[in-house]
């Protein structure tokens, strides 16, 4: 029992009680064990992370409790594999049977797995909700996971064809579906955010990101002599490129311009991403409702940039440490690499371990800085109202199966 302030109930707000140091210790121990167990430890790490985040989030004086176990996740994963093996085997056999049009079956398989992924996302959310306990009652989720998957697919298609302009409406529609099937005990939730609200706030960012690409495409259409290009292509042969350049003298300049514009788009998108994340998080958490209970977010964009600055700082420190540590490793590789098979294996393992440590190190720093901050800021910036609605809730809902989590893991569509 460390801090005496830890349990002073705050009447109307949300507090995050966890310390960065504890979270950091949990994640770094998890990263080491992930390497040692080649990833099998992930079920335990995921559970530890959720216990930490849930258990340290205090809403109106009471903390959430995560009641899921690693074994449930492991069993869910094994069940998912048992379902996916026949599916994958079926795709393989179909590809064999169809022969030359096997590539189409590959595409169909990809589409089927995408639908299954959306299904898994909804089922996994159900698992997490029914393992979330607050004031002695669990949350739960109704609704059909297939219904959600079909909606999600339709929206994804719309979003892709509108170059992302439909994305706010997709988020709003899918969140409405999720929240209207979400319950705290017998208290039904709903989502009050509107797609237009997000659309108009996000539109300036969209224009800044898309404009350079549009300029580049416009320049292409303007500069290219389409009849000459058509002639060059229709003749075929090995010197197509040379003839295209001959027919379109301005093409070289346009390509340079397009590359510059592409670079502008990528760097603008990277610079705006934290602002976009802040916008979506603020919009989303301002729309959550359970009966008369409402949340409003006061999240400031600068806070999210601060989280990314912390990430960059620690990533820089880690990179310097890694560079210093890799010098003796490189020396050892140089010594052993010509000592026969054993030396080869040692050198390969050293290089591989270096890569894995780097990748896992950066991702751990990201989780300990950006992801923890987003959770903490998202929660602490909430203003609650209608709290009395939470006082008279009756128990409802049962613990659901972890199959969705397993599928999400096997298909790599997992969240927290």
């Amino acid at each position: 029992m460390s801090s005496p302030t830890a349990n002073e109930p705050t009447a109307g707000g949300v507090r995050f009680l966890g310390t960065r140091r504890d979270y950091w210790r949990l994640l770094s121990r998890g990263a080491v064990l992930l390497i040692l167990t080649l990833g099998i430890y992930r079920f335990w790490l995921t559970t530890d992370v959720r216990r930490f985040l849930w258990g340290n989030t205090e809403i109106a004086g009471e903390t959430l409790e995560y009641a899921g176990t690693p074994l449930e996740l492991l069993i869910g994963f094994l069940a998912a594999i048992a379902i996916l093996i026949p599916v994958y085997a079926g795709f393989f056999v179909a590809a064999l049977e169809l022969g030359p049009i096997g590539e189409i079956s590959g595409l169909a398989g990809f589409a089927a797995l995408f639908v299954l992924g959306q299904y898994a996302i909804y089922r996994a959310r159900r698992y997490r909700l029914t393992r979330t306990i607050y004031r002695g009652l669990r949350f739960h989720q109704e609704g059909s996971a297939w219904g959600y998957a079909l909606r999600a697919i339709a929206w994804w298609i719309a979003t892709v064809f509108t170059l992302g302009l439909a994305y706010p409406f997709q988020l709003a529609s899918l969140e409405r579906y999720k929240m209207r099937h979400t319950y705290y005990g017998d208290l039904a939730g709903h989502f009050a955010g509107s797609g237009f609200g997000l659309f108009f706030r996000g539109l300036p960012m969209w224009i800044l990101v898309v404009a350079p690409v549009a300029l580049a495409v416009g320049a292409f259409v303007e500069a290219v002599d389409w009849t000459a290009l058509g002639d060059a292509l229709s003749q075929g042969g090995d010197d197509v490129m040379a003839r295209i350049e001959g027919g379109n003298p301005a093409l070289g300049n346009v390509i340079v311009f397009a590359m510059l514009m592409g670079g502008t788009t990528v760097s603008t998108a990277a610079l705006l991403y934290p602002a976009f994340q802040a916008l979506v998080l603020r919009w989303w958490t301002s729309g959550l409702r359970f009966g008369a209970f409402e949340t409003r977010s006061k999240l400031r964009t600068a806070q999210v940039y601060g989280a990314y600055m912390r990430f960059l700082w620690w990533a820089l420190v880690f990179s310097i440490g890694l560079a210093i540590a890799s010098l003796p490793a490189l020396f050892v590789i140089g010594l052993v690499s010509d000592r026969g098979t054993g030396g080869e294996i040692a050198a390969t393992l050293t290089a591989l371990a270096g890569y894995v440590i780097a990748a896992l190190g950066y991702s751990t720093i990201y989780r300990a800085t950006v992801m923890l901050s987003l959770w903490q800021l998202g929660m602490e910036s909430l203003q609650l109202s209608g709290l009395s609605a939470l006082d008279t809730v009756q128990a409802r809902g049962r613990a659901s199966s972890p199959l969705g989590e397993g599928l999400a893991d096997a298909l790599n569509v997992g969240g927290y």
């Binding site: 349990n7 990833g39 306990i133 990748a359 991702s363 790599n412």
Partner: protein, 367 residues
């Protein structure tokens, strides 16, 4: 200390109750502020649940509801800890459980790696002969499309396979003579088809559908008909051992082990690629050794010179030798030749083709 304050949630409603908790001999009594008894928990059922630092959150093991009792007083919390077996505020129980989890997961990883090294090829060896001929043929046809696309040199002006033009027919007849002698000795369940393709490399490729592509460069490299027959006999070994089907089964098994069970973490992609490459090379080396043994034995059975496989390997292998031993998909050439010579032993050989037929075969890609 046998009584203290707590917060109680009964698991049926969300109402928060300030309660008085009294520790009796076998049970823990929870009474409301008005003195009304709310619950009695046996110490053996009391379970500690995750909570922020400074809070002891208790529940009941196997309870139908999610009733919760929260204690914030340190001294009273340790008084409960002393009585309830499942509650352990020192963290020793948790550390023990974590240590056993770590021990078990590391052991599971080691055993899965052993399965990948020994189990996957052993399983593929058992399953491959059970795959129906029709399925093997379909698999071969699917691979054939890709192999043809990769090998095809048609834009150079000649057909894909040699032996069709009038000037090439004699060579084709000589090849058929050689193949008849080999397949009579081999007695396979699928008929063999052999094509010579216009490629300069000294190599040959076998598909699961018992189709063998001999590269023109191999015929140019062979000093005599028995050297060529030796390589083809080695390739027949791949057919007899169902190596193409085995490779597909092995790849499937490895994908299941790596990428799904193992290696699913950030940075794990490199581990998956490295492990798959090393393991598949090791499977392939075992298959090549087995095909060499089969090829030498088949040459002996067909009355040819079994050592010829070794002499042509010495010519082909030298160029492809450098690189890392664990990544090589063929065993070391000298070891292969020694093993072939051991099988061949001293025995009289009867050349596979006479001089005229051999000369014709050398011009099978005349056009």
């Amino acid at each position: 200390m046998t009584s203290g304050a707590g917060i109680y949630f009964d698991g049926r409603t969300s109402a928060r109750r300030d309660v008085r908790v009294t520790l009796a001999a076998d049970t823990l009594h929870i009474d409301g502020a008005d003195g009304r008894p709310l619950a009695q928990w046996r110490y053996d059922d009391v379970q500690e649940l995750t909570a922020p630092a400074g809070v002891l959150r208790l529940g009941r093991h196997d309870s139908a509801t999610l009733e919760r009792l929260e204690i914030t007083d340190v001294a009273f919390a340790s008084a409960i800890d002393v009585r309830a077996i499942l509650v352990d505020r020192t963290g020793a129980l948790q550390r023990r459980q974590r240590a056993s989890v770590i021990g078990w997961t590391v052991a599971a990883t080691a055993s899965l790696l052993a399965v990948a090294y020994f189990g996957v090829p052993a399983l593929a060896d058992r399953l491959a002969p059970l795959v129906p001929v029709a399925a093997e043929r379909k698999l071969g046809d699917a691979v054939d499309l890709q192999v043809r696309a990769r090998l095809d040199n048609r834009h150079l002006g000649a057909g894909f396979a040699c032996g069709a033009a009038p000037s090439e027919r004699a060579g084709r007849a000589a090849l058929d003579k050689m193949m008849r002698r080999l397949s009579d000795a081999a007695q396979l369940r699928m008929p063999l088809t052999t094509e010579v393709v216009r490629r300069r490399e000294a190599n040959a490729v076998t598909l699961p559908s018992a189709r063998i592509y001999v590269f023109e460069g191999l015929i140019k490299t062979a000093a005599n008909p028995d050297e060529l027959a030796g390589v083809i006999a080695h390739e027949i070994g791949h057919v007899a051992h169902h190596d193409g089907t085995k490779a597909v089964l092995q790849a499937g098994g490895l994908s299941l082990l790596f990428g799904m069970l193992l290696g699913d973490f950030i940075g794990g992609g490199a581990v998956v690629v490295a492990a798959k490459t090393v393991l598949q090379s090791s499977y392939s080396r075992r298959q090549e050794t087995a095909a060499d043994a089969y090829g030498a034995a088949l040459m002996k059975k067909a009355g040819g010179d079994a050592r010829a496989l070794g002499t042509i390997l010495a010519k082909i292998g030298g160029a492809t030798e450098p690189g890392m031993a664990i990544l090589r998909d063929h065993p070391e050439t000298r070891a292969r030749i020694a093993a072939i010579d051991r099988i061949a032993g001293p025995h009289p050989a009867h050349p596979f083709l006479d001089a005229a037929d051999w000369a014709a075969l050398q011009h099978i890609c005349a056009r």
